[in-house]
């Protein structure tokens, strides 16, 4: 039996790094300290049904083939397309992302990550106003006020509150939960809001108004606030603003409730603008609750390799970026793509119907360990090893701290990185021969 300590969990953006995993005969038999989500992800590698073999769709049916045949077919699709969409890459390693970007550049493709339907607006807000952030340990050690805005860590990031925020005990916060106040802003009561000292139920789609009202109080302009904003009485707004102003160190964790509701990136801009003013009085930072464990890493790698964090179009050979025009959903909704390569994501289940319809019409390559809705639309399916369990690689936590994912068990599946490396070689071969 092998006992592997300090395992980094490949599920959510919390990237907990304290798991202990036991392996017997190359099977994971015990996982300690993981939350239910992480546990299922790691255990699932041995328990859940995998895509067992590479497959190519022939006469409407997926037929098992070898890796070589699948790579060849996939490369053939990529080499003969004019506008390929390369999408996903959030639940894989930075090393694989780097290769995917190279493939996109060489094939003139458009590459985008799952941030397109998640924290993409957060990125736009940073373009507008910047990112006043901190590492999670600053929150653990210093924060006497934590605000969860439009997010629900109890269910989405289950160990976040014990490791980094609500309950974490640090140098200046030795009393943990008792050392800090918790505020939650959401459109409905959640299991997170039930644990809060202060819960504010904002009207759906009105976060932007509430943020600006709070900012007005911070700037001592409360006279401009009407009796009620976003469904919240003025007194409560003043109370929340006062909590922020009187805290020694506060952090606003924000989720898709702000990025994918009305006002989109303007909400992130408003949080940032609020902190811009608030920091004159008290220290305050913001951290996005990133979902996929390495969606942050995609943004980092894309940024240093292309200059842009997502939605990068290599159709003109140089990197072109204009989210709203070059996002994955945008090109699909315009029916613009003539092939697609999807990795470590499931747009078949998560994209708008109109976009999925476009995806169904074109030749599509899927790289994934598991069968999902996207598999039903794929013409070439290439099974991959699970990063952080079957293969190693780098991932970035929600606060942009990079950690090395471990390999826990052996596998015969190729890694995403190997698959894309093979694809690059094959495409070069085809294009060189043409």
């Amino acid at each position: 039996m092998k006992v592997i300590t300090d395992v980094v969990c490949p599920f959510c953006g919390s990237l907990c790094d304290d798991l202990t995993v036991k392996v017997e005969d190359n099977v994971i038999t015990d996982i300690q300290r993981a939350c239910i989500l992480g546990h299922n992800k790691i255990a699932g590698v041995c328990l859940h049904e995998r895509i067992e073999s590479p497959m190519i769709r022939k006469d409407g049916e997926l037929v098992e083939v070898t890796y070589e045949e699948a790579i060849e077919k996939a490369a053939d699709i990529l080499a003969n397309s004019k506008r390929t969409l390369s999408y996903g890459w959030a639940s894989t390693s930075c090393e694989a992302v780097s290769k995917a970007i190279q493939l996109a550049e060489e094939t003139g493709s458009l590459i985008d990550s799952t941030a397109n339907v998640c924290h993409g607006p957060t990125v736009l807000a940073v373009h507008e106003k910047g990112s006043p952030a901190a590492s999670l340990g600053q929150v653990k050690n210093r924060a006497d006020l934590v605000v969860f805005w439009g997010c629900n860590p109890v269910h989405a990031h289950p160990r976040h509150m014990s490791r980094y925020s609500t309950y974490a005990r640090g140098f200046f916060t030795k009393k943990g939960r008792k050392a800090r106040n918790i505020a939650v802003v959401d459109v409905r009561e959640t299991d997170t809001s039930k644990l809060a000292d202060k819960y504010v139920q904002v009207d759906p789609g009105c976060d932007y108004m509430l943020l600006n009202a709070i900012r007005s109080v911070i700037n001592e302009n409360e006279d401009v606030i009407p009796a009620q904003v976003a469904g919240i009485p003025k007194e409560e707004i003043i109370e929340l603003a006062t909590m922020l102003k009187e805290a020694r160190f506060s952090c606003i964790f924000y989720g898709m409730g702000t990025t994918q509701s009305r006002s989109k990136y303007k909400n992130g801009d408003a949080v940032s603008s609020l902190l811009y003013d608030l920091n004159q009085y008290s220290k305050s930072v913001m951290i996005p609750m990133r979902g996929h464990y390495n969606v942050t890493g995609f943004g980092q790698v894309a940024n240093w390799e292309t200059g842009y964090p997502n939605a990068i179009d290599f159709n003109r050979r140089l990197a072109y970026y204009n989210p709203g025009e070059t996002g994955a959903s945008d090109v699909l909704l315009r029916g613009e793509v003539d092939s697609a390569i999807i990795a470590a994501a499931d747009p078949g289940a998560h994209f708008a119907q109109e976009a999925v319809r476009c995806l169904a019409k074109v030749p599509m390559i899927q790289i994934d360990p598991y069968h999902n809705a996207t598999t039903e639309l794929a013409d070439v399916v290439i099974p991959a090893a699970v990063v952080g369990v079957e293969t190693e690689g780098t991932a970035y936590r929600m606060d942009s701290i990079p950690l090395r994912m471990k390999k826990l068990i052996d596998t015969t599946f190729k890694s995403d990185e190997e698959i894309v490396t093979d694809l690059i070689e094959k495409v070069r071969e085809i294009k060189g021969g043409a």
């Binding site: 304290d18 373009h127 910047g130 990112s131 160190f249 811009y276 940024n303 240093w304 140089l318």
Partner: protein
Amino acid sequence: MSELIIKNAAVCDPINGINCEKMDLAVKDGKIVENVSSGADVIDAGGRLTMAGAIDGHTHCAGKINLGRLMSPHDMRMNPVPGLSGLQEPTPYTRAQSGYNTPNTFALGYRYSKLGYTTLSEAAISMLSARHTHEEFESIPILDKWGLTLFGNNWHVMNYVRDEQPEKLAAYIAWGLKASRGFGVKVVNPGGGEAWGWGKNVTSLDDVVADFDVTPRQILMGLAEANEALRLPHSIHVHCNNLGKPGNYETTLETMKLMEGVKTTRDRQALHLAHLQFHSYGGNSWREFESATPQITDYINGADHLTFDMGQVIFGPAMTMTADGPLEYSNARMLHAKWSNKDVELEDGAGVVPIEYSPKSFVNAVQWAIGLELALMVEDPWKVMFTTDSPNGGSFVNYPEAFALLMSAKKRQQIIESLPNLAVDRMVLPGIDRELDFYELAVMTRGIQSKMFSMNNIGHLGVGADADIAVYDIIPDQIDPGTEHEKLKKAFSATSCTIKSGNVVVRDGEIVATPAGRTYWVNASGCVSNDVNEAAMKDIKNNFRRYYTVGIANYMVEDEYLPHPVEITTEVN
């Protein structure tokens, strides 16, 4: 075995005392050698100016520059220096390029190589994010790199300084360099970063850092002594307190004086002052803002324990990025600019804010002058390293512009004439007619780096040195740098030939090969006794268990992140 001979080179190599002498350079297996066989490849330099590959000893090329990129998608299309900025298509040798102040990693490698640079020193590695820095290093083609690790606001450091445990402090630094695969000790606004954890700052060397009961003075002294105990190749590399504030020259003077007492254990300076331009301000308010270069250079001319780099300002847009978190917040408030911040638990902070240096702004104009004044008023070029603190004072692609300014009083005068009178009254530059020659320029871009980082294998062209060579399209005795500015700039903007470790990487200003560069790091554990190391490890592990959010096992940068490592070890004499 690859052999190469560069014939008819006008070699300018200050480390070896060679001043534009016509000679041949023989290269074998990536090193300069006495001679090569008759079968060697031949490059005819045709009497052109030939120097060792340049070394940027203080640049922000990996790590928080990525936050700068994220904040400025508009920068990617900006093209004020054609050929060295903006969007560029891939070629058979190169990847797609973007950006000006914050170019992508590939562009960084190609563009520095075109300027004849072959080695970069990243100014700040945040330990907890060190993997990130090394990932970007590996993505920057051609160039060799190293990074300086941040220690000036680290809890372990402050605790050991307060508790007067210099041996444990040295042990921690050796451990930290290994954990982050760093090259040396960087100190940024000592104490100020910790204060910024609560939104505050320190304003003098003697302010007490809350909760830790130490002063910036004690932190600086403790780190300098530990640096010497570990016999590190570089001295402490200091970004002083009060950066960017009117009147800050007094803090800078005090910091320099403080280090007079440090006994060095290697043949180099005891202190390097980073981007001194930002620390040489007089006046008690922005209204009174003026150059304090005379006060600073008077001292430096009489001192022999320090070096500094310029931090020259280039007019136009720039991106400021520093571990000085409180400074960046006040920059953002003052400039009404967007603001990014990144505090790192137990260690330090960082901020990124865009800026535009305008020749119409009297403050910016004086800043522009101070950088040049420092380089020209310090008599000994072996104390002056050329930098713009890229991209803080301006992007490195503007180095040729700054070289031209240092080499021509006339060019400086032309610009001074366009500046506001108020600014001209507050600077001393107009009275300076010194013009650097190629030899002095080579000292500031190659020679001093070789000495101040104790890197005997680079920065010169003596036998045994790495074959990092830049050939510029200049015949030294056929150009007057004092008047032929454009010709000079053009030649410095794109080499006739850049050679990296014996490989030709640039030909006639175009990239022709992109070999991977190496990463240097310093292992000083040989200077730490086992007992002390064990005792320090107990403290370190305790802090990880209680305060960090990652485990110590997941903190150390693994070998995988340095595929081309060069480990430098230090040992007790």
